[in-house]
């Protein structure tokens, strides 16, 4: 076994930390006050190669694999879980183009997705929920060499910021419904953003509806093939979406621990820093091992993804990592709030933001309960 990152991976982390500290940190407050990702941040992430971290080099990407993406999302999330999540959603949005698109579709979109000309998301969840997509009501009907999509998706991150999305639709009704996933861009008439959700956390990251009204998509934008739409969506969510949210959780735990340690060493009570109080030490210790255990699971799941483990085998590994990391983020940020006492819920101190963001991470890309189901199915050998 080797738990050491390669020098290249160390540099990836360093590049992401440098960007997060110098570019993102000064903008966090602005994001907290807004509903959308700041205009220039995606462009700047494109300039340093983050947007193309999963895109092959022949299409203008940096192609540093899932572990590379994990390191970048984690470091950005340490400063802003909202922007880290925005980046991971972009990766989730473009991954099916890398894996399943036609050559024409790849040529058209991937270079722009690497630079930020195109920003991507994925659209599967509907008002009835996202964990059982077979009940979806969005439909696509073939018309000559194109398809016409009608429907409404909800809880879509980057619903306004993204100008491209994959969208999973029902293309055959009947006893055995069939589903097809398309890659759509906003220059296609009939694709637009809908209502924006007003969320507890992840301020500055848009999330809401996308609406397809007689949206015409060319045949070349079918991903993987007609009737094979669910595997496309599940691959994107399983290989990046859940992993990405687990990374947002890692960044949140790290930030919570750093804030708690700083406060514990500076706040003096009974003549010395509260870091010397055993009650505080136990909380810090718990946060430290929540971070370590979460990292081990997430990095291992990312490594398995890069080893091309098949989706079905990978799903419980990723689910376990996402469950543990997100639960840990909630716990660690809550402990940080406790250590800071009254300051913990004051906005300038950030810990209350970490707690609000952690709650958002738990629900995104499949709730903690759904992760438990996936893990249990594997453990119980259920079909």
């Amino acid at each position: 076994m080797n738990f050491q990152f390669s020098p290249e991976q160390e540099l990836i982390r360093k590049a992401a930390r440098e960007f997060a500290e110098e570019v993102v940190r000064p903008r966090v407050q602005e994001m907290e006050e807004g509903q959308y990702i700041l205009d220039d941040l995606f462009r700047l992430m494109g300039e340093v190669g983050f947007l193309g971290v999963l895109i092959p080099q022949e299409y203008g990407g940096t192609n540093l694999g899932t572990l590379g993406a994990v390191l970048v999302v984690e470091e950005i999330s340490r400063i802003s879980a909202a922007l880290g999540t925005g980046l991971q959603v972009h990766c989730l949005g473009l991954l099916p183009v890398v894996k399943f698109a036609t050559p024409a579709c790849k040529e058209k979109y991937l270079p722009g997705l690497a630079t930020g000309k195109y920003i991507a998301t994925g659209s599967i969840t509907e008002a009835s929920g996202g964990s059982d997509p077979t009940t979806m009501s969005t439909v696509a009907v073939q018309d000559g060499d194109s398809w016409v999509i009608n429907g409404r998706k909800c809880f879509i991150t980057l619903n306004k910021t993204a100008n491209t999305t994959w969208v999973t639709t029902c293309t055959k009704e009947g006893k055995r419904r069939e589903f097809t996933t398309f890659f759509v861009d906003k220059s296609m008439e009939g694709y637009k953003e809908g209502r924006l959700e007003n969320k507890t956390g992840m301020h500055g990251l848009d999330n809401g509806e996308v609406v397809f009204k007689n949206c015409r998509v060319p045949d070349t934008n079918v991903l993987l093939g007609v009737g094979r739409g669910l595997p496309v969506a599940l691959t994107a969510i399983g290989r990046m979406g859940r992993m990405g949210m687990a990374c947002a959780a890692l960044g949140t735990i790290q930030a919570s621990l750093e804030a708690a340690v700083k406060f514990a060493n500076e706040r003096v009570l009974y003549g010395r820093p509260i870091a010397y109080l055993q009650g505080v030490q136990f909380k810090i210790a718990e946060m430290a091992y929540l971070l370590e255990t979460s990292r081990l699971l997430v990095y291992k799941a990312a490594w398995l993804t890069d080893q091309n483990m098949p989706d079905a085998e990978l799903a419980p590994k990723v689910a376990m990592a996402k469950y543990v990391a997100t639960q840990s983020a909630i716990k660690a940020s809550d402990l940080a709030v406790e250590i800071l006492g009254g300051y913990g819920v004051v906005r300038e101190y950030n810990t209350e933001r970490y707690l609000r963001d952690a709650r958002m991470i738990w629900a995104a890309a499949g709730t903690g309960d759904i992760m438990q189901l996936t893990v249990a199915r594997e453990a119980l050998k259920l079909k």
Binding site: K14, A15, T62, N63
Partner: protein, 271 residues
């Protein structure tokens, strides 16, 4: 214009953002670096940027030189990701503890061993030592002129650079003939960010390690034993202050008390 062979000297230093964690070993009087991440000395990063910009404008090659322990290899990789073409790590146990002159001797030997060069650029000073001596010592050892604290530089023809240097009094523009050693201030440019593009490009670039044998260095002039300066003591100066309030019947009387205190003679002063 002719392409330039550019040498950049780089020192890995403890991350300035972690400067509050820095401690001094009470016995050796050296910095305790353990647990503090190393970064490229901030002004050296500006030096590298200056070299890479010159290369991007007119072609040539940028080679980075650094005297550092083997863990400096990550810093070398970072310089390649930031645009250098090749990195030479000068690393040997015997180099340890060297002062600025001993360090300059190793750097000069490395640059000479590598072959032809037109221009050497260093950061004006390091974040940790802050002596600002290495650039000047290097120029003497290489037998070239040197210009320190450059705030702007521009290539004007095959053989000349136009550089701006500033001090507290004036700003001067100098036409400098190559070869030359420059040390640059942080205002000379905005160093580019470390990008994933650069990291991928660094895969195809080379890091070479030279030790004392490769460089055929006289061991009397390198490392702790070869250093003419030794740190005897290191301490934080006592910065405590006392306030005293002068009182008197008139402003003149109070002023006179003040003059007495600071040792000024009142002889001849108008009353």
């Amino acid at each position: 214009m002719q392409p330039l062979q550019i040498a950049i000297c780089v020192k890995p230093v403890p991350d300035p953002k972690e400067s509050t964690q820095l401690q001094i070993n009470p016995t050796t009087k050296t910095l305790v670096r353990k647990g503090i991440p190393l970064v490229i000395n901030p002004m050296d990063r500006n030096a590298l940027e200056a070299g890479v910009k010159l290369k991007e404008a007119n072609g040539g090659k940028v080679t980075v030189f650094s005297m550092s322990p083997p863990e400096g290899e990550l810093t070398m990789l970072e310089t390649l990701a930031l645009g250098a073409d090749e990195a030479i790590l000068l690393s040997d146990l015997i180099f340890a503890g060297g002062d600025t002159l001993a360090t300059a001797r190793v750097l000069a030997a490395g640059i000479k061993a590598q072959g032809n060069w037109d221009l050497v650029i260093c950061g004006a000073e390091s974040f940790d030592g802050g002596t600002a001596q290495v650039g000047a010592q290097l120029a003497v050892l290489l037998g070239t002129p040197w210009i320190t604290r450059v705030s702007h530089l521009k290539r004007v023809d095959d053989k000349h650079l136009l550089v701006t240097v500033e001090d507290e009094v004036e700003q001067r523009e100098l036409l400098v003939q190559l070869p030359v050693v420059l040390t640059v201030e942080s205002v000379v440019n905005q160093a580019r960010p470390l990008s994933l593009w650069g990291i991928v490009e660094a895969r195809n670039k080379k890091i070479t390690v030279y030790n004392a044998d490769t460089l055929k260095l006289d061991q009397k002039g390198i490392g702790l034993d070869g250093s003419p300066t030794q740190t005897r003591d290191l301490f934080a100066p006592d910065a405590s202050r006392e306030a005293e309030i002068l009182t008197g019947d008139s402003p003149q009387q109070i002023a006179n008390q003040l003059l007495d205190k600071i040792g000024w003679s009142r002889k001849g002063a108008a009353n």
